[in-house]
């Protein structure tokens, strides 16, 4: 056996190192060496180390888990083991960006212009802009079709030499080591000296009975997409912020009646409020709470409750559009990065996460005001921070 690893129980990095080796099909000999044991003495003698795990290849000490990951990134590991690399071409990126919404794409423009070798890995392009029709508040465009804006972002990035993996989901990330590793659902690994997290947000669900069962059968999170399917029927929109009011406007020319249900008094922009309050089709329920979605195979109604009086009411609607804000897509990082109660990643003014070489920007972070223009600015900041970090590395 070419590789020997000294470990002990309850040692997280021992576990990680072993998983790392298992994942790659690298055989190893494990020696349990709790402090004070004979094996511990042997480990100290053979490796000069004072901590676990300690790894040897052909009797030569290479260090711990961090060194193992670094050696894989450079290809040295396979060289030392005398086995061919596993299939894929191994590239070490300066920057890996996860996410291709406004924040991620903006970050890419900045890293590429600093001549950093960059890859973008993302499920889709455009992020949450995909959910809207028009963007009216982006500087330089008094009104731009959301599709067009995303295409412009995309074209801008295409002008530069950047690797893009779109339609690819990330399964795990390894942030503890100097070289960061990103593993996709298909099991491919990508290595970067820095990582920029721009994974954005997803729709917050109502979390009430009937909702999950009827998604796509009357429950919708994209009014732009689905409004045309509700022509001539009654619908409800849950949420009184801008997204909610935009949904109402999308539906105004199609549905026969629109109930707006909001836990809080309507808070969307005055321009939108004026528009919807004028419409005879719109009925507003402020400080009412959705309790239950009615219907077996399709939405037949929604039960709501008045927060003050406790009165219940059933709205006979065929559609419910949910626009009650977003949740951060931070599941991958909850174990390793500090987040707030909502799960948003804590960042300092320079988009640093507290883990060296790992930056975050846009809607996945604690930075307030989830706006395209804010995300674009934060993306630029994260990229420049990553650049500064790389310049200060030995």
């Amino acid at each position: 056996m070419a590789l020997t690893i000294y470990t002990m129980e309850r040692c997280p990095f021992c576990e990680r190192a072993k998983c790392f080796l298992y994942d790659r099909g690298i055989e190893f000999k494990e020696i349990s060496a709790p402090p004070g044991s004979r094996e511990w003495q042997e480990m100290k003698r053979r490796t000069g180390g004072e901590s676990l795990p300690q790894i040897l290849i052909h009797d030569v000490s290479i260090g711990g888990y961090a060194e193992l990951v670094n050696m894989e990134a450079t290809g040295e590991l396979y060289e030392k083991l005398g086995v061919p690399e596993m299939g894929e071409e191994r590239v070490l990126y300066d920057v890996i960006i996860i996410g291709a919404g406004p924040a991620g794409l903006s970050a890419a423009i900045y890293t590429i212009r600093k001549l950093l070798k960059t890859i973008i890995i993302s499920k889709d392009i455009g992020g949450q802009i995909a959910w809207t029709t028009d963007v009216d508040n982006y500087l330089g465009f008094s009104q731009v079709n959301a599709d067009e804006l995303v295409s412009k972002f995309e074209d801008h990035v295409k002008k530069f030499d950047v690797d893009k993996l779109i339609g690819v989901e990330v399964k795990t990330v390894d942030l503890a080591t100097r070289i960061k590793r990103v593993v996709t659902l298909e099991g491919k690994s990508y290595y970067g000296k820095t990582l920029i997290i721009a994974t954005g947000g997803r729709h917050r669900p109502l979390d009430i009975p009937g909702e999950r069962e009827l998604v796509g059968r009357g429950i919708s999170y994209c009014s732009t997409c689905d409004a045309p399917l509700f022509e001539g029927v009654e619908v409800a929109v849950v949420g009184g912020g801008n997204a909610g009011l935009e949904a109402v406007i999308d539906l105004m020319s199609l549905a026969t009646r629109i109930y707006v249900v909001s836990l809080l008094p309507i808070s969307g922009d005055a321009v939108y409020q004026a528009k919807i309050r004028q419409s005879p089709k719109v009925e507003i329920y402020e400080e009412w709470q959705p309790i239950k979605i009615l219907g077996d195979t399709s939405v037949k109604g929604m039960e709501i409750r008045n927060l003050k009086s406790g009165e219940h009411k059933a709205l006979a609607v065929e559609g419910v559009f949910v626009e009650i804000g977003i949740l951060p897509c931070s599941d991958l990082f909850l174990d390793t990065l500090a987040t707030n109660q909502k799960g948003e990643i804590l960042v300092d003014p320079e988009c640093r996460t507290g883990v060296a070489g790992v930056f975050a920007c846009g809607d996945v972070t604690t930075v307030p005001f989830k706006q395209v223009v804010v995300a674009v600015g934060e993306g630029a900041k994260a990229a420049l921070s990553a650049y500064n970090y790389l310049m200060n590395q030995p």
Binding site: E169, L185, G216, R217, S220, D226, L229, F230, G319
Partner: protein
């Protein structure tokens, strides 16, 4: 309606529909696209094959009906095209 093996029901402002179509085009797969906001026949058909879906895109591949665009699901469904 045609008998192409892949059909996609869409609305004009739906970016996921757009992305799904781009995905199919990139893979070189022929498909028939219907705009259900204008084509009531297609809307009827979409609701019928999907058991009452009210969300786009709806994509039919061979005998499978997918509501929404999920790349990995679609990719899996498309396997039926390559096997006889």
């Amino acid at each position: 309606m045609t008998d192409k093996k892949v059909k996609i029901y869409t609305t004009p402002a739906c970016r996921y529909c757009q992305q799904a179509k781009e995905f199919l085009t990139r893979k070189g797969i022929e498909f028939e696209a219907y705009d259900v906001s204008k084509d009531t026949e297609a809307l009827k058909e979409m609701k019928q094959v999907s058991g009452g879906a009210r969300s786009v895109p709806v994509i039919t591949v061979c005998d499978e009906v997918l509501v929404g665009f999920d790349r990995s699901h679609l990719e899996k469904a498309l396997e039926c095209l390559s096997s006889p």
